[in-house]
Assembly symmetry: C2
């Protein structure tokens, strides 16, 4: 095994330029509790994409370097440089999670037990040929599971489970989810169907409705519909959902959801209350597919909350035992409940090709890339 390997890097420099490249990095020696994983698959999630290309204008990118070592340079509009101030000059590795084979281990029993096994791992820097992590960051994949199948075994599966856990912990009985036909959204549907939880799916396109219908979703509302507001309100009346998870963040969708929840609650109200209903309505923003400001038209009284939602603080809050229980469920249901789908598989170098970058930077419906660092 050579002493160095390739890693995909993203750098924002003071001249308003984003540079993407493959760099040589030392292959680390695993510590006692660590394993070294030869990476075979890592998904390109929206949160990875945000770190990878930031606010750069990829349509104006220049492609140079060689086929094995491509270099991409893209301009960042001056008014967006504030967004990346904190990462200026830092060459960042990317990739939240992935999967591969354990090719070396530390001396602890936990580490040695994983040697030769295929694992899903989490912890950043996954767009690398090799990645060294603590054994706690690894989920052993069941026999017969490929790295492609196990590449997304942390973020989406645990986030969808966290949504259901949050629903129960905060006293709600049904859920609303936006961008609902995503891999995560499909997992959430399967969990909710399994557990008999009503889930209101909000999508933007008919083709997304079709995807969800096929997996058995009962409540699907299209935000592009002329009757969106009325249709969402009816679904909320039918389900009693007072908790929403929103992947988009921007625009008026969050506001619409809260206002429709309030309209649903108002159906059961007696006399006029200037402060609105006393039904508590909560919405969590867990993504930023729409970067525009969140616009809240506050017609939903005073009994409401909006907040950011992230998996890591959630896991810290529920504790190790609960987290491990959730992981075990994911491992057991990786090819059913938590199955992921990708539209394209590319190599590290391929991820920096004009064709691939042009496509995934647009985050089109159904486009989901998988990077294979061993290809």
């Amino acid at each position: 095994m050579s002493r160095s390997a390739l890693q995909l890097r993203s750098l924002v420099s003071e001249d308003n330029t984003l540079t993407l490249s493959l760099e040589d990095v030392d292959i680390p020696e695993p510590g006692p509790e660590e394993i070294l994983v030869q990476m075979e698959a890592a998904p390109l999630n929206p949160s990875d994409l945000a770190l990878l290309i930031g606010p750069a204008d990829v349509s104006k990118a220049e492609y140079s370097g060689t086929a094995e070592r491509p270099v991409v340079k893209a301009p960042i509009p001056e008014h967006l440089m504030g967004m990346v101030k904190a990462r200026l000059g830092q060459s960042l590795a990317i990739g939240n999670e992935g999967a591969g084979v354990v090719v070396a281990s530390g001396n602890s029993d936990a580490a040695k037990a994983l040697l030769g096994k295929r694992v899903g791992i989490v912890g950043g820097d996954m767009y690398s040929q090799y990645r060294c992590v603590h054994t706690m960051m690894a989920l052993p994949l069941e026999e017969g599971t490929t790295s492609a199948q196990g590449a997304s075994c942390f973020v989406n599966p645990l986030t969808s489970l966290a949504m259901v856990e949050t629903m129960r912990a905060e006293g709600h009985t049904a859920l609303v989810h936006t961008a609902a036909a995503s891999n995560l959204g499909q997992m959430l549907n399967r969990i909710c169907i399994n557990e008999g939880i009503d889930l209101v799916n909000i999508v933007r396109k008919d083709e997304q409705t079709a995807i969800l219908k096929e997996i058995g979703a009962k409540y699907i509302v299209n935000s592009s519909s002329d009757n969106f507001y009325a249709e969402l309100t009816e679904a909320l009346v039918a389900t009693g959902a007072t908790l929403a998870f929103d992947a988009t963040g921007g625009g008026e969708l969050a506001s619409d959801i809260l206002n429709c929840m309030e309209a649903a609650a108002a159906r059961n109200m007696g006399e006029y209350n200037r402060y609105g209903s006393d039904v508590y309505k909560q919405l969590y923003i867990y993504g930023g597919l729409d970067r525009s400001p969140t616009v809240l038209k506050r017609g939903f009284g005073f009994s409401w909350g909006i907040g950011g939602f992230l998996l890591t603080p959630f896991l810290a809050k529920v504790g190790l035992e609960k987290s491990m229980e959730m992981r075990a469920k994911v491992a057991a249901e990786l090819q059913t409940t938590f199955a992921s789908h990708y539209s394209e598989e590319v190599s590290l170098a391929g991820a920096l090709s004009k064709e691939a970058l042009g496509r995934y930077s647009q985050q089109k419906t159904g486009e989901k890339f998988l990077i294979n660092p061993s290809a």
Copy 2:
């Protein structure tokens, strides 16, 4: 004592008209646990005003009736009728709180003990010559306290105390408050000075800065300043405030506060984190002085929350014992910590005069009306 008395009423009818008038209502007989109060003073708070005039265009109001029984009719723009749909055709009494003398009581010891006393009361419908309430809704005023002094002994005092209680309960150590020179804001300053809590006051005008300086406020930031963002960030760094109470609700002020809190937190961060700092930032909207949408420019990561805040649910949550403790503090400090100031006192009929209505409907800085139903 006559069997009926005057009460101020607000009615929205289907023809897009708001009607304000004084109506005859029966004077109720107090039940065993009730007292009948002859009202002498009731403040016109922004929340009262919202119910009183709703979205009507007061500048186009028509004034009729007699001096004793004025009638005001004002048009409501068609596109705003949705806001008042739930109160259509209901003649509403107004006035959150007030003070007066107990002129009759029920047979319980608690009720009889209040006979002849001057009390502050809460529970709505206070713009009335007489108001019958449960003894639990009354706070006996200390000897020598006038009804004008005791008229605002619930909403503002308990809300300002609730802010400090919330700060402690949710693990914050300092506060931010907007519209900070209000009666409530002044109370909050006095509480915080007494208890050694850092409070960042946000005002819009220099004259408001002067009011707060005079009562000893240390951190005052003017949102009209060209350097507002930098000045607010410095105040947040100095105080470590991660909790804000916002009376305005609309526009970008909430967003600015959260972004400045994040900028303050970022000063202490080491490496770049795409998800922002892990410092939890909370903002509560407790009023709606600015009715425009809340616009959130989400540059503050994922560790944040925004919600509505109302006194009544807060008191229900903390329980009776704590609520009573807070009330006792208000009674003891009504002429110091919890002193209120009014710019004008009007009678029930006077509240419906063109001059008064024209002025208080504009909610100008420093304009605070007190209605005296016995005048």
